[in-house]
């Protein structure tokens, strides 16, 4: 008797239906413990009053689209990178430029300030992440001291130092994230699981400091264990690319901004999405999000040139900020929460307070 031959299409169909069944069961399990909505719990909280924030500094100097920025721990310096390959370090308070590096590639999509304040990391279409020590000797060519740390097989979308200057976490268009030792350039751990480009990442502010979250073009946000390389949690409720992820200050949740024009809040202990920040009048994607110090406010930079400020607990929009003349591509709150900085395709950065 001839053995029955299983058609490949049958196997795929079978796997697909099994996967769908599992997904449904997972949603059911998650829903069982969902006994209340965030805005219901927040009903007893006092509503926020009139909200006034203005541009307090405008940083001009980039010759093309600003793609990324990061704050220094000294709460006033920032590093920014742009499409024309320039990386600039500013004292945002005085608006003075302190350092400038020209990368050998265009589209520097990622940059980060080292915790010590003595170096910056950046990368983009060169598929690499390089570290530049910041020297104050005007005669010294910063580019000469550059150290190549990370190597991906596609563009670098985001990078971040861990607790010290010694390790860097990167995400890439090649669908992976990776942890690198800066001194040796050695790959310490790689993280596989996204089905498409990874666009963003953020490190958890937890006591044990061992996890991070990433977001990608596969609409998924994944939480990773840095030691084992395993994906420990995954959320797939967005309807389009996730451009930005940021942890809530307590580390128990994170927010995401997506091309589907919504920002969402995911609770890690309840293991589900708990809030959607959206409005019918907001039709452009959110490129970048960050929380205020208390986590009560969520700032979102959007592709329609605006910044929307959301009440995280009540789910309502508190304010809309105009000013940029092109897409807002990057947004970060300062380390002491006194201000936030936004970078835009209009070549400028703005500090708001």
């Amino acid at each position: 008797m001839a053995a029955q031959e299983v058609q490949p299409s049958e196997t795929i169909a079978k796997l697909k239906s099994e996967s769908e069944a599992l997904k449904t069961k997972l949603e059911e399990e998650r829903a069982k413990l969902h006994d209340v909505e965030l805005h219901q719990v927040a009903e007893k909280v006092e509503p926020l009053g009139q909200f006034v924030m203005k541009t307090r500094r405008t940083l001009k100097g980039h010759g093309n689209k600003v793609l990324c920025m990061d704050w220094c721990k000294d709460k006033r310096r920032i590093v920014s990178s742009s499409q024309d390959g320039k990386v600039i370090v500013w004292d945002a308070f005085t608006t003075n430029k302190e350092h400038a590096v020209t990368m050998p590639c265009t589209w520097v999509m990622a940059c980060a300030y080292a915790p010590s304040g003595c170096a910056v990391a950046c990368g983009g279409l060169d598929n690499k992440c390089s570290v530049y020590p910041l020297s104050l000797d005007k005669n010294e060519n910063l580019a000469a001291k550059k150290k190549s740390v990370a190597m991906h097989t596609n563009y670098l979308s985001a990078c971040s130092f861990t607790n010290s200057d010694m390790q860097i976490l990167t995400s890439s268009g090649d669908g992976t994230c990776a942890l690198w030792d800066v001194e040796s350039g050695q790959l310490l751990q790689s993280f596989h699981g996204h089905a498409a480009d990874v666009l963003c990442l953020d490190l958890a502010p937890s006591e044990t400091g061992n996890t991070f979250v990433s977001g990608g073009c596969d609409k998924k946000a994944n939480v990773w264990d840095m030691r084992s390389g395993q994906c420990i949690q995954s959320f797939e409720t967005h309807e389009s690319d996730i451009n930005s992820v940021r942890y809530y200050p307590s580390g128990d949740a994170f927010a995401s901004g997506s091309d589907d024009a919504t920002c969402r809040l995911y609770d890690l202990r309840a293991d589900r999405e708990v809030a959607i920040y959206s409005k019918e009048s907001i039709i452009f994607g959110a490129s970048s999000v960050d929380f205020s110090i208390s986590g009560r406010l969520l700032f979102g930079g959007y592709n329609d040139y605006t910044i929307n400020v959301w009440d995280v607990l009540k789910g309502t929009r508190v304010s809309i900020l105009f000013g940029h003349e092109n897409r807002v591509s990057t947004l970060r709150v300062s380390p002491d929460g006194t201000a936030f900085c936004s970078g835009s395709w209009d070549h400028t950065l703005r500090v708001w307070a």
């Binding site: 220094c72 607790n163 089905a195 044990t208 609770d267 039709i283 329609d304």
Partner: protein, 399 residues
Amino acid sequence: MERVIVSMQDPDMGIKMRNQRLLITVIPHAMTGRDIVDWLIQKYSITEEEALHTGNFLVKYGYIYPLKEPRNLCLKQDETPYRFQVYIHTIYLARKNIRKQGELIEYEKECYNALHKRINHTWDFVVMQAREQLRASKQRRKSDRIVLECQEQAFWLINRPPVSSIEHNRKSLGRNRIKSSICLESFVKYCEQYQDHDPIMQGCLPSNPWITDDIMYWNMNAEMVPMPTKLRVERWTFSFMELLNDPLGKKELLTYLEKEFSAENLLFWQACEEVRHGEASKIFLAPGASRWVNIDSKTMEKTLQGIKHPHRFVMDDAQMHIYFLMKKDSYPRYLKSELYKNLLARAVVPQETKKSVFPFMRRQRHSSPSPALVTQTAEDNGKAQPNTGKTNTGTAAQI
């Protein structure tokens, strides 16, 4: 954007189309710029500024086109007449066809021909619109054009079916979850607790440097100050992590532990941090060592095993053990100690500095020494110098 346009065209709740006057001609079935703005304000409960902003995008992207000046693609909030672009996707194809003769892919070609048959009577109009948009787009910067093209192309691309991960979903089913009510309540509590520490929400004393140009706030909260602010000292009570994250808090804790002859735990923890993030640590674990660390035998064994074959995480278990020990024991005792209570009583509450009343009397914005300079000087001097954040003028190199 499509969603908004569909709502606008709704026969009941959409914009009312009328005959609009254009010089001496009467144009049927059109709407004014003012109609559009008013409708947006009403439908989405937004301000006039926001409605104008959004409306402009609808015109720029070609969903609505002006009848008076077809080349000027912007929304005017007056009697200027506009119409909906019915054949937007057809126009995209026509544009592509005009620009790159014969470059439509098979699928697009089929659609193009089918559409041509169906709307034969308005074909000239479609081609004319396509030409207009091409002309207008030539004036836009190349990068913007590319972005728009990509967005439109996406409409014609066939989506790939998502790849599912069965193993992952199986694992996720087994995880422990916490009730929403408990989780969400914790967010409310956290926001409440930190509200006074959120400068954007509550302001900060003496003033926000970005608003008043006065850096007193940064000076008073520098890493090592002779007397910290009350808010800062209070924050150490929020969690053990808050105390350890503040160098001044860590120093105070060490002082307290030294008084109790139990400083080794904190010193060990600090050494572990250094192993984790860089420098090698000294061994505190040998039982006969001059400084003992109290961890249980199981953790001790595991650590000693790891040290034989060192790896990055060799100290992790021991470090975590010590961390939680301090959190449970030393931390609460420190908060109840005289040392802490005295510090809290003496801590400063800054006086408010108001923004200068006269705008032309703007305060001088002082620069501060770059962190890179501080480290360089320290290396030159051979000893570490704390960054006091004093006001200095012109020490940073300027470009």
